[in-house]
Symmetry: C2
Subunit: 454 residues, 2 copies
C-alpha cells in the first residue's frame, strides 16, 4: 500500500480544511441553544461522506438529534463494516482557559487545537478519509456503513431506539469505532474494556429563601454544609464507595490478568507531572491502572450554591446542588446502581432539609475479546503502521452505546483509538496530534484488508 502514504501526503491539506470546517460548527449537544448547530453539523457530515464516495447518505431524525447514515455496498456477500462515531462535542467552559477559539481549529507544535479535535470529530473523520482512499483507488474490500450520532456526550439516549428500529439497515459483521486513546505515540494499544456510566443531579433544599447568616446562623440547617456532609459520606477512608451493594456485581479480576495489566507502561512520576499533582489517589489496594480500568469510581463533576461572586455575602443559601457521576465496570447495571445510590443518598439527609435526586443518564460497561477476528485484524493494522504489536488495555472512559450495540444489534465493536491522554478531551485546549490523525487514516485501510481476509 505504498500509494496510501502518497495519497495521504498529497491530500492532507484538503483533509485539514474539511476537518476544520466540521470543527467550526459548535455542535454542543448538552445545550439547547446549539440545536440548530446540531443540524448544520449533520448536513456537513452528509456533504463530506458523499464527496468521500458513499452510495447515498440520509439524515435520519430521532426524538433528539438526527443520525447521519451512509453506506457503500460493493457486494452483499462480502463482509460489512459499520463505522460509528459522534458529531456532538462537550461544552467549552471554562472558556477563559482556552488559548484559542475552541471552534476555530489551529495547528500548533504539531497538534490540532479545537473542541472536538480528538473527541470525536478528529477521530471519526479519519474513517471518512480512509474510506475515500479505498474507494478512489478501488481497494475497498468490504461493504461499509457509516452511523454518526449527535448525542454521545449526553448519553446517546435516542440512539438505542434508533438501533431497535433499524436493525436490518445496521446489519454488519463488526462495528468500527475510533473514540478512545492509545497509550502513547510510540505505544499503540487497543481498548478491550470500557467503563459504564451513571450520572445524577442532586439538590438539597432548606429555607424558602436565602437567609441572613447572622440572624439564622447556627439555628437553621445550611444546605451547602448538609450537601458537603452527604457527599463526604459517599466514600470511606479507603476511598471505597459506601453505597450499599455498590460493588455487588463488580467482576473480580484474576491475579494473572492483574499481572498482565501491570505490564502496561506506566510511569507514576510522569503521570503526576503531566497533571501537576503531588500524589495520585484512589481505592486502597489497587494500582492507578486498575483504579481506572477494572474498578468503579464516583466523582462530583460540579457543585454550586449560595454566593459565588466577588467579595463576601453573609447568607445561608436556600439550596445547594451537585452533579455526580459514577464509572461502572462489568457487570454493574447503571439502572440498579443509580437506584441504590438514590436510596442511600436520600437516607443521608438530616432533618431540616429536603433532598432531590434526578438521574440524568447512564450506560453499560463493555468488554471486547482479544480473540475475535476484528481484534486480530486491528492488531496487524497497528503493527504495520506503528511497527509494534498493540497492547490490549482497559479504558476508564465510557461509550455507553457500544454496550448498547451488542445488546440490541448483537454486533461486537472494535475500538481502534488514536487519541492520546494528553489530548485533554472534555477540557480546555483539547488537541489531537497531526501525526496521530494521519497515521490513523493510514492504519484503517490495513484493518479493512486484514478483516476481509479473516
Amino acid at each position: 500500500m505504498e500509494t496510501l502514504k502518497q495519497y495521504i501526503e498529497q491530500n492532507k491539506d484538503r483533509f485539514f480544511d474539511e476537518l476544520f470546517s466540521l470543527i467550526s460548527i459548535p455542535s454542543i449537544s448538552s445545550m439547547h441553544e446549539h440545536k440548530q448547530d446540531m443540524e448544520r453539523c449533520a448536513q456537513k457530515w452528509k456533504e463530506l461522506l458523499i464527496n468521500a464516495g458513499v452510495d447515498y447518505c440520509n439524515i435520519m431524525p430521532t426524538k433528539g438529534n438526527s443520525v447521519v447514515y451512509a453506506e457503500k455496498i460493493i457486494d452483499p456477500t462480502k463482509k460489512t463494516v459499520l463505522v460509528y462515531g459522534h458529531y456532538d462535542v462537550m461544552p467549552v467552559d471554562p472558556i477563559e482557559q482556552w488559548h484559542s477559539d475552541p471552534f476555530k481549529a489551529i495547528i500548533k507544535d504539531g497538534k490540532i487545537y479545537a473542541r472536538g479535535a480528538d473527541d470525536d470529530k478528529g477521530q471519526s473523520f479519519m474513517h471518512a478519509k480512509a474510506f475515500e482512499y479505498m474507494v478512489k483507488t478501488n481497494q475497498l474490500p468490504t461493504n461499509v456503513k457509516f452511523m454518526l450520532e449527535g448525542e454521545e456526550e449526553i448519553g446517546s439516549e435516542n440512539l438505542y431506539a434508533f438501533c431497535q428500529k433499524n436493525k436490518d439497515l445496521l446489519k454488519a459483521d463488526i462495528i468500527l469505532v475510533s473514540d478512545t486513546s492509545m497509550i502513547g505515540e510510540d505505544t499503540p494499544s487497543i481498548t478491550t474494556g470500557l467503563r459504564g456510566l451513571g450520572y445524577v443531579e442532586v439538590e438539597v433544599i432548606g429555607a424558602d429563601r436565602d437567609l441572613h447568616s447572622g440572624i439564622y446562623g447556627g439555628a437553621v440547617a445550611n444546605p451547602i454544609n448538609v450537601l458537603c456532609g452527604m457527599i463526604s459520606k459517599l466514600m470511606d477512608e479507603n476511598n471505597h464507595i459506601t453505597v450499599p451493594d455498590f460493588y455487588k456485581e463488580v467482576l473480580v479480576i484474576s491475579d494473572e490478568e492483574r499481572k498482565l495489566m501491570a505490564q502496561a507502561p506506566y510511569n507514576e512520576e510522569n503521570y503526576k507531572k503531566e497533571l501537576d499533582i503531588d500524589d495520585v489517589f484512589g481505592e486502597k489496594g489497587y494500582s492507578t491502572i486498575e483504579r481506572t480500568g477494572i474498578r468503579p469510581s464516583l466523582d462530583v463533576c460540579g457543585i454550586w450554591g449560595g454566593y459565588q461572586g466577588e467579595g463576601s455575602k453573609t447568607i445561608i443559601p436556600s439550596s445547594a446542588h451537585a452533579k455526580i457521576s459514577f464509572r461502572l465496570v462489568p457487570d454493574q447495571d447503571f439502572n440498579i446502581i443509580t437506584e441504590r445510590f438514590e436510596k442511600y443518598f436520600l437516607s443521608l439527609a438530616p432533618k431540616g432539609v429536603r433532598v432531590k435526586v434526578t438521574p440524568l443518564h447512564g450506560g453499560y460497561p463493555y468488554v471486547s475479546p482479544i480473540d475475535m477476528p476484528a481484534y486480530k485484524a486491528a492488531e496487524k493494522a497497528y503493527e504495520k503502521v506503528y511497527g509494534k504489536r498493540p497492547i490490549p488495555t482497559k479504558s476508564g472512559g465510557s461509550i455507553p452505546i457500544v454496550a448498547g450495540f451488542e445488546r440490541i444489534l448483537g454486533i461486537k465493536s472494535i475500538l481502534m483509538g488514536f487519541g492520546l491522554s494528553a489530548d485533554a478531551i472534555h477540557s480546555p485546549n483539547e488537541s489531537y496530534p497531526v501525526n496521530q490523525f494521519l497515521k490513523g487514516i493510514e492504519t484503517i485501510p490495513h484493518f479493512y484488508k486484514e478483516f476481509a481476509k479473516q
Copy 2:
C-alpha cells in the same frame, strides 16, 4: 409631642419619595462595577441631610468608599448624639427570585419592597426625618452628628482608619444606630449584643485542568469531593465546631441569664413555618435563641466548582471554592479565630491537592449594657410609641464597626432597631413595613428628649 404625629402624617409622602430616590441607586459595595453608584449615593445623602437642616455636610474620602459626615451643633455644652448608618447594600442575586425591581421601591400590602428598604437605607433614613422634624419645630435638645459609611456590608474596612483619624470630629456621648430588628410589630426590643464575624474564601486545587472523569476517575483526587470532605469535618455530630480552641474565649452565660433569654417570645412552629422548614437545627444543648444569641456558628455562604450548566459534563474539575463565615460571640477575636481556622483547615487537606485560605474580613462582638443612660432613654422612647417596655435581646447578626467604635472612639452605641425578622434583609424581596418606618421616625425624637434629660 402631638405635632410629631401630625408632622409625619402631613409629610410622609415626601418621606417616601426621598427614601425611594435613595434606594434607586444600586450602591452594592461588594461589586467594583458599582463604584460610581457609591459616590452617587453619598451625594444623594448629602443633599438629603442639607435639606433636613444640618449646619454642613462633607463627603470625606477614604481608601475605599467615602464617608458622609454632617453635623448640627446647637450648643457645645450640650450632649451630642452621633447617628451611624450605612448607605451600601448587599448584592441582589439570585435576581430571578425578586418579584419586583430591587432598585425600584414599591409599596405593597403595607410594606416597602426593595434592596435596602430595611438594611440600612430605610432604617438610617428615619433618623434624617426625625432630625428634620426636631429642627423645623425647634425641638432639637442635643447636638447631632451624622456618619454614613459605604462599606458596612463588606466589613467597614476603611471606617476604622477614618475613626482613628477623626477622633475629635466624631466626639459624642452616644452613637445611635438603627441597623437591627425588633421581636415583632407589637413587641419592641432593644439589641444588647451583636455577634462578631469572620469570613474566609477557601480553594482546593487539583490537576492543572479539568479532567475526563472516566479516564482519570478513581485515580486522581477530585477537588470537589475533597472540599466537601474538609467542610464536613468542620462540625461534629452535635453540630459543635471542631476547629481546635474555637470555643476557648466564648463567654459562658449564667443559667439565670439563659432563663431570662428563654422568656423572650419564641414560637418554634411559627419559626419553622415562616422559613418553610420541617425542623430547626443547631448545637446540641442550646435553644434556637441561644444558638443565634450567645453561641458562635459556622456557615458555608457559597460553594462552586466544575460544571454547573444544563445537562451533564463528565469531568473532574481542576479546582473547587467556598466562602465560609463564622459568627462570633464575646470574647472571641476574629483574628485569632481566623488563624485557628486556617491552621485546622489546611491540616485537613489530603495529598494530591493544594489548599488556599484567604481571609476576607472580620469584626468583634459587641455588648450594650442595659444600665447605661442611652438604654434607659431608648426604653422610654419605645414605650411611648409602642405602649410596651422593650425586651433586651441579643442579635445573631453582626455590625463589626460598633465594637470598633468602642475600641477606637471609646463611645458606646445604642441599637434602636425597627426591622422585623420577616424583612428578608440580604435576601430577594427585602421589605420594610411602612408602619415600622413611620413609627421609627416617631420614636427617635422621644429618645433625644429622654437622653437629653439623663
